[in-house]
Symmetry: C2
Subunit: 125 residues, 2 copies
């Protein structure tokens, strides 16, 4: 999802990507289907469509074993940092600190978050 990737991952597709990201290895449709059917109540057909679209978009890849196995092409980190930068560009005029200021002022940060952040921005360089 460098900036060259045109199409975003949609909400439904993201659910599939999350599975792929959290799997230790490529997954066969069976596994993907099973989990999403349970967690989302989607029909097998729906799940197959989402998988295909991810492959067309180039964010997941299929690998022929006996049956196809699927794995992510972009990592969760790559995607989430892309999505974050996209948000900053679109609504914070490119100022990352404005995003954080907004979080602070809207009470979007838990005590734990704040503790972690204080740690994060303390001695490090």
């Amino acid at each position: 999802m460098s900036d060259n990737l045109a199409s975003k991952i949609t909400d439904s597709e993201l659910e599939v990507m999350k599975l792929l990201w959290h799997a230790s290895d490529a997954l066969p449709v069976t596994d993907i289907r099973e989990q999403l059917q349970r967690s989302k109540g989607w029909e097998p057909a729906t799940i197959k469509t989402l998988i295909s679209r991810l492959v067309s978009k180039g964010v997941a890849r299929q690998e022929k074993r006996n049956v196809y196995y699927y794995s992510p092409v972009i990592s969760e980190k790559e995607y989430s940092s892309w999505a974050t930068k996209d948000l900053i560009t679109r609504i914070y005029n490119g100022k990352a600190s404005d995003l954080i200021a907004s979080l602070v002022s809207s009470n979007g940060l838990s005590k734990d978050d704040i503790a972690e952040l204080r740690e994060m921005f303390k001695v490090e360089e």
Copy 2:
């Protein structure tokens, strides 16, 4: 854009909202059209559609003067913090500090940002 608001503001619509947010008072279509025609190259018809959709979505309001004047129903702050929380929910599993960690590790923060943040998380409580 409390959580009760179903439909998001789309990218094109956001451009209109930005104008409304940055205006000191309600704006007549004339003004909106003029600016967006210049900055975005959109046809008047397009701009009118976007305005109507914002009104239907309940995020902008029209007020009859002589001609209608438009103003935001939700503030830019409300929207941006909603969008940020939405991002955190969707891709950071609800952990705001993960978002910030991601920004840090992906070099999404400028020197200035970091300085501001260090300030922000220093003595305040």
